[in-house]
């Protein structure tokens, strides 16, 4: 074995191919349907997306409660009947409520597609928000909340967002126990009327899409009309602070959770693709500097990541990890050291080559198959962008220079502006 020549095979350049554009079909009531078709298994994914996320709520828990109650009873079905039907047709349904968007994603067998669309119409447009089901949901959520408060990861993450966006803004506000008592069926109905309207809906459909599918959607959703509802603009303003350092104690914890980061630019900003690359160097893949230093060289943690994420009205970067007591201070110091290295030392050619190829490989994965394409499309559509964003991104991955990385790190990772939240023992 050892006598054999086992030379490294030659590596071909990693190059994302062309990104197929979705077809756009507009229902007769104006609802846009983006269609991503591909010859795969007989299964179809539908994303129903509404601008109905947390950013629109006046009270904590409101948008997510509306979303979770959609399947809990409608004009034609009780919650039990609804879930029996969905399961009978082998549909997988995923309710989503994020900071900006909400809705549902559903996977349906092609042969049951029509039935599943009828049920989706019931879920999205005919919910009744029955008081008894709501009371149950709130009791359950309070219980989940109490369990989550026992996890250092949750404590740190929640406080991190509060420190970034402020106690009153929906991006930063934390729910407390008293908030659970404030959610009523009337509030849910009002929120639903305003934000789950056909005029506020976009559909992305992906998988094996036959010519008949748009007509099925037309039948299920084309007749719906939005009411004339006045939506007042939110008075919430962001009131976070930069450079905040907080230690949350958690009796009994044997590891602490660390979150370090700041607000940042959104995907609409021209620097965003380049900043994604800086983030990847720092902590965005298994070979990143943070991972190498703190896991592979020091063994201080099971994992450490750095994320850059875009919101509609802002964006943020966050470095997250958990570490055993005794190492917390060391880990925090090393995080700052890695950031400071980005400010001062040019990234060497070898490392940059790895990052470029890794990221280009990731781009191929992001467009592999109709469901991945649907997710990637949603991620730009959400910000009013289109696939040209990904072309710019690929170009930037290939051309970014070490000096640009230093410049970006100095602009967007200012040490004195980083918030540092630690939950657990020092």
């Amino acid at each position: 074995m050892n006598n054999l020549k086992r030379n490294e095979p030659q590596v071909m350049p990693v190059e994302p191919g062309s990104i197929p554009l979705p077809d756009l079909y507009i229902l007769r009531n104006g609802v846009p349907v983006y269609i991503i078709s591909s010859d795969t298994e007989d299964i179809i994914r539908v994303d129903f997306i509404f601008k109905a996320g947390q950013i629109h709520e006046d009270l904590p828990l409101l948008s997510s409660s509306v979303n979770m109650m959609l399947t809990e009873g409608s004009l034609s079905y009780t919650s039990e009947q609804m879930s029996k039907k969905l399961d009978y047709y082998g549909a997988f349904i995923n309710m989503t409520c994020e900071k900006d968007l909400a809705g549902l994603t559903i996977y349906a067998l092609s042969r049951h597609f029509g039935k599943i669309m009828e049920l989706s119409r019931e879920i999205l447009f005919c919910p009744l928000f029955p008081a008894r089901e709501l009371a149950n949901l709130i009791k359950k959520r309070l219980q989940w909340y109490r369990i989550n408060r026992e996890k250092v990861q949750n404590l740190a993450t929640e406080m991190f967002f509060e420190s970034l966006f402020g106690k009153t803004h929906p991006y930063g506000r934390q729910a407390g126990e008293p908030d659970f008592g404030n959610i009523t069926p009337g509030l849910l109905k009002d929120f639903h009327l305003k934000y789950y309207s056909p005029g506020n809906m976009t559909v992305i459909i992906s998988g094996k899409i036959s010519d008949k599918i748009p007509q099925v959607l037309e039948n299920s959703f084309g007749d719906l009309q939005s009411g004339n509802v006045y939506i007042e603009r939110s008075a919430a303003y962001m009131s976070g602070s930069a450079g905040m350092k907080l230690l949350l104690t958690k009796p009994g914890a044997i590891q602490s959770a660390i979150r370090i980061g700041s607000t940042s630019i959104s995907k609409r900003h021209q620097d965003y693709p380049a900043l994604k690359i800086v983030n990847t160097v720092l902590g965005g893949y298994f070979g990143s500097r943070l991972m190498k230093n703190l896991r592979e060289e020091k063994g201080f943690t099971y994992g450490i990541q750095s994320v850059l994420s875009s919101l509609d009205l802002s964006g943020f970067t966050v470095i997250s990890t958990e570490t055993g007591s005794g190492n917390t201070r060391n880990v925090v110091d090393e995080i700052y050291k890695e950031i400071s290295d980005l400010h001062t030392k040019p990234v060497e050619a070898d490392e940059l080559r790895v990052v470029r190829n890794y990221m280009l490989g990731q781009m191929i994965r992001m467009f592999d198959g109709p469901f991945a394409l649907a997710e990637s499309f949603r991620a730009v559509w959400q910000f009013g962008l289109d696939n040209s964003y990904y072309h710019r991104f690929a170009e930037k991955i290939k051309t970014i220079s070490p000096d640009e990385i230093i410049e970006l790190a100095r602009t967007y990772y200012k040490t004195e502006e980083l918030n540092e939240i630690i939950a657990g023992p020092l």
Binding site: M1, N2, L4, R6, E8, P9, V11, M12, V14, G17, S38, T40, E41, D42, I43, T71, S79, E80, S83, K84, L86, D87, Y88, Y89, G90, F92, Y107, L109, N136, K139, Q143, I147, R149, E150, K151, G252, A253, I254, Q255, F286, G287, E297, K298, G299, F300, T301, Y302, E322, T323, G324, R353, V354, Y358, L360, G361, Q362, I364, R365, D368, G369
Partner: protein
Amino acid sequence: MVRFERFTLENGLRVIVHEDRSTPLAAMNLLYNVGSRREDEEMTGLAHLLEHLMFGGSANVPEFDLPLQIAGGENNAFTNNDITDYYITIPAKNLETAFWLESDRMTGLNLTQETFDIQKSVVIEEFKQRYLNQPYGDAMLKLRPLAYKVHPYKWPTIGMDISHIENVSLEDVKKFYSSHYSPGNAILSLTGNISPDIAREMAEKWFGPVESNPASEVAIPVEPEQTGERIITLKRDVPSDALYKAWHICKRDHDDFHALDLVTDILAGGESGRLYTRLVRKKNIFSEINVWITSDLDPGLAVLTGKLMKGVDLESADRAVNEVIDELKNKPVSITEINKVKNRFESSALLSNTSILNKAMSLSFYELLGDAGRINSEVESYRKVGQSRITDSANRYFATSNCSTIYYQSTLKT
């Protein structure tokens, strides 16, 4: 339909190739037929620790991840009771890099003291993060030894105790590696944009020269039949009480497996599962409840976990669960309900087969069970299960005398 070709190299490595030209990528899955069930009781967690060490480079590869990242690839691995599984996705034109890396660490792994010490710390941090520093995190660590008295499934893959990981020596790891990592003990699956001919050529070139170690498997002790109910109570600082139950079931490759899987789906599959409908939705006894079966090579478990609502005591919650199970034993299930759970299985199989990586993993695992072709016939195996098989299986396996229960009691006053 997942079409594939299958061949065995002279050294015993089984290779399966499924060509899918709809993607520019290829996936490589290498399954080793070794998991924590092959460990010594005094030295648990070894299989998983070795998985971590497999990324430390090998004879001709100074660093494992680096060349893969340069080739646009991504990879990871997992260990369970039965297997250790390594997987890669990569642009198909660079698949040979994956062959080079994966074949090199099959035989010439670098096991240095330094990497060893660091990865021990990483695994200990993993142990804390996933099991010790989480509310309810230790429940499964306690349920296994309650259900199993002699079989190695009584310890979890991460290890029975942190001290086991601390005490293991580099020599122990080397021995474990050389006795289990060998072409004859592995199954290689390749899926995606690659032809069977090229796959065969590359497999011969890279894995062909790897010498096979004769396997010297020690017999695994057989778990004696459980003949009486076991119940323990644990008191913990958690916000609410929780109930954990486990029943011994058959092994994955047994005639009853599909019927049992349907039984657990009737009980807890989706939001229309009986336990969710009755005990979460109607009676508000639990805030969440779940049941699943393990797909183990040796006889496994059906496991139930549930978190209780405030004000409900554990004994009555347990009784409510048993009532739902008793009904399943005593009354035939309607055809509609049976079709519902079969349809759910069909959907999830179809969804899984939309990913080349999932297909590669399934092909390796089904081949380990005896035939990779089961990737295509499993749906039919579920379809064939009749009404009486479901009732019979519920009666055979969900007996009280075959059950272990943990009352996980909250000591927090909230």
